[in-house]
């Protein structure tokens, strides 16, 4: 599975995408694992209320199971339009 980041999440973490660490069942689990990397990851992902998620390009809540998804996107609330 691949993790992709957008907007200030991408800027704070310092990369567009990275391979997902192993061992997470839900989006929330994955967040915990990623925060454990410290630095930009910990800062960008610290406040879950400021984040939104998409699994294989569909918006989900943080309790969603990762299942066989191949891409988890983590980004701020959208501001288009």
């Amino acid at each position: 599975m691949k993790i992709v980041y957008f907007a200030w999440v991408r800027e704070q973490i310092g990369c567009d995408e990275e391979p997902a660490p192993e061992g997470a069942v839900t989006v929330a689990d994955m967040l915990d694992l990623l925060r454990g990397k410290g630095g930009g990851h910990a800062a960008a992902l610290g406040d879950e209320s400021r984040l939104r998620f998409a699994l294989d390009q569909l918006m989900v809540k943080s309790d969603a199971k990762l299942g066989n998804a191949s891409e988890l996107a983590i980004f701020p609330p959208v501001t288009g339009g």
């Binding site: 907007a7 998409a54 701020p76």
Partner: protein
């Protein structure tokens, strides 16, 4: 007819409305969003010179299509068009066109509002403001946008 476009270049709003007018409609309603120089209410002193529009390319078109299809299911429409620009947009430039065509005006007007309200909270775009003083800041999502979108649920 559903048509969604994501592009860097300017769009031709007249051509889009003409296309919708030819779907057998009696009414075409449209919304255009524009980069405002005084766009950041939190910083009234800082003039916005440009916006940078970022998208999630793999998801954007599907999200816009899903919003358009939901509009055609909810309202009696003959067509819907969404065009959203990405990249750097100067103050005064159009950002987005959302338009709906219907036999009757209430459906066209309501569907147009629906398209832009849902797009504001459900399509993966992010705006970064560039100010005249050289600083930049990501636009914060507004609670009022969530409230408008939730009003359609």
């Amino acid at each position: 007819m559903i048509d969604v476009q994501v592009q860097t270049e300017r769009f031709d709003s007249g051509a889009a409305l003409d296309a919708l007018a030819q779907t057998g409609a009696g009414a075409v309603a449209s919304f255009i969003g524009i980069v405002r120089a005084d766009g950041d209410v939190a910083y009234p002193d800082r003039r916005v010179t440009a916006l940078e529009l970022e998208q999630y390319p793999a998801m954007t078109e599907a999200a816009l299509r899903s919003i358009s299809e939901a509009a055609t299911e909810r309202f009696s429409l003959t067509g819907a068009i969404i065009i959203h620009r990405i990249g750097r947009l100067e103050a005064g430039e159009p950002i987005v066109l959302a338009a709906a065509a219907a036999p009757h005006r209430a459906d066209a007007l309501d569907a147009c509002a629906y398209l832009i309200d849902r797009l504001k909270t459900g399509a993966p775009f992010w705006k970064k403001q560039h100010f005249a003083d050289g600083s930049a800041k990501w636009v914060e999502a507004k609670g009022s946008d969530d409230a408008r979108a939730a009003g359609w649920e």
